[in-house]
Amino acid sequence: MLGARGQRPRARLTMHWKTRSRLTSWLLGAVTIGFLLFQWLPMFTMFLLSFAGENGGTTFPMNGVSLHWYRKLWDADLFDDFKPPMLRSFLLALGCSATTVVLSVSAAQAMRGRFLGSGAYFYLLLLGLMAPGILVGFGFAILTRLLGIEGAWNTTAYVVHVSWALPFGFMTMLAVFNRFDPRLEEAALTLGANRITAFRRITWPIILPGVIGTALFGFSLSYDEYARTLFTAGSDGTLPLAIMAQLDRQLTPELYAIGTVTTVMSLVAIFLCTFAFWLRSRALRGRPTP
């Protein structure tokens, strides 16, 4: 971009506009590819080093190739057993995902009812999107302390996690309902369906892809959340807390192994979701007509 600016005065005199357009394309393309490399290479480094040998360090050169660190992850000793936090994270994310779906769908449906104060309500939910985790987590910690409640991953952390995923789910569902044609519901109503039946039989199946997206949002935001959990989870931490604690003690390739495992799990989830969407849109389009 900067290069293009620098050359422009001369270019204007001598270059055909197509040449200039192609030059900009190349420059922007180089910037994009460069950034993508920059974005992926650290993760790639982590993948590679997670397969280091038994004496492998946390940097290059790689000392041998093995599954040692994954095996260590599997039969871990008491202090760095990542399995219980992982299970807690998984369950918490499931709960957060389910709650987010219910709350976002009903909140977005309520917005369609244009109730009094729906403008302020919109901003209330938007607020959760903008409030940083460190503040929400700290504030909620004060709240529970004042109320004399002991924090735990499946109570206080759960409440805060939902408040984090809910705005995303709400915005997603608003966008989904924005594209939804309300006349489909009206058609159902004139055909003898009451509102609940119309929602169940017409609206729900059509917004389902958006609902799945919301569920995925709810899961992954909770599963990866660190700041909010740090303040509210109490003694039994989630996976990100365990990773951070291990990082504080010592950086070992075991951390790379767990990082690789969770990243691969995220990728698989994204892939499955995309595949499901693709299947569904194909089903809606139907087989090509002869």
Binding site: R8, F38, A110, M111, G113, G139, L174, E186
Partner: protein
């Protein structure tokens, strides 16, 4: 009419759970922080008199004042870099790449990391930036440097690199959205009116994508201001911004000091968002 009647009781009942949840988990805690930051006296207790002493004590420390400025400077820098980078990428992906397959592939490569853990991505920068890290190895192999650069890891440079990598998508995403919503006919219309490509960009494309730029900048602003994870993982113990200070005070059980820093952070954020809202109406962008 639809499956919900305007202003019906059902609308209120459906709205209440999510609303209460947000009030209890976000609004009330935030107000509590504000209240706690005003607690006076010796011991930490709600029965003490309300005072601004906590603020004066904090702000009288030159180190802390400098920290605030440093945090703001870091945020501004990351906003600038991700803004330019994000716009270039957004423009390239939506306008310059014409093949749908390539566009999808590049876009996925851009977006997918966003769906993975930020913490893991930050940690991944450690072996990337270290003395024997991939970046140094690559630069050595290319003959661009003679000795590994120490300053990548556990430094402000490394933290900034990680933050740029983590947050460029936030700056870019809204621009992609706005660029996609510009009908191609507009560009063609401008060109038939004798506008050169650069004029089309400056007079048509840039103003129409401005709301996307502003929203992207707000997202980066909020995230960098409150970021402490990248700073702890990539910056080691040598670096701290306001977010780290909050954590430090909290771990030292200095609840009131934690609250003071939190309120200051919140005030900066609100000011930033207010400025952004003066430039664009976020409600209009959603369409």
């Amino acid at each position: 009419m639809s499956s919900i009647r305007p202003r019906s009781a059902a609308a209120y009942w459906l709205a209440i759970p999510a609303g209460l949840w947000m009030l209890a988990a976000v609004v009330l805690p935030t107000l509590l922080i504000l209240w706690v930051s005003l607690w006076g006296g010796q011991s930490v207790s709600p029965h003490n008199p309300i005072t601004f002493d906590n603020y004066t004590r904090f702000l009288s420390n030159a180190n802390y004042r400098w920290l605030i400025l440093e945090t703001l400077g870091q945020t501004a820098m990351i906003m600038g870099i991700t803004g330019v980078l994000g716009y270039c990428i957004a423009y390239f992906l939506t306008v310059k790449v014409t093949s749908p397959a390539w566009r999808t592939a590049l876009f996925l490569a851009f977006v997918i990391p966003f769906w993975t853990s930020t913490l893991i991505r930050a940690i991944a920068f450690v072996p990337f930036l270290g003395v024997n890290g991939l970046l140094n190895q690559a630069l050595l192999a290319l003959g661009l440097i003679e000795r590994p650069i120490q300053a990548f890891l556990y430094s402000r440079l490394g933290v900034s690199m990680a933050q740029v990598s983590l947050y460029t998508l936030l700056a870019s995403g809204p621009v992609v959205y706005m660029l996609n919503s510009i009908p191609p006919a507009l560009r063609e219309a401008a060109m038939t009116l004798k506008a050169t490509p650069f004029t089309v960009f400056r007079r048509i494309i840039l103003p129409l994508t401005l709301p996307g730029i502003v929203i992207g900048q707000v997202l980066v602003f909020l995230n960098v201001l409150a970021d402490f994870i990248t700073v702890t993982t990539v910056g080691g113990n040598k670096l701290a911004f306001l977010g780290n200070l909050i954590l430090l005070f909290y771990e030292g059980s200095q609840i009131r000091a934690t609250a003071v820093v939190s309120v200051l952070l919140m005030a900066v954020m609100l000011a930033g968002v207010a400025v952004a809202l003066r430039i664009v109406d976020i409600r209009k962008v959603g369409g």
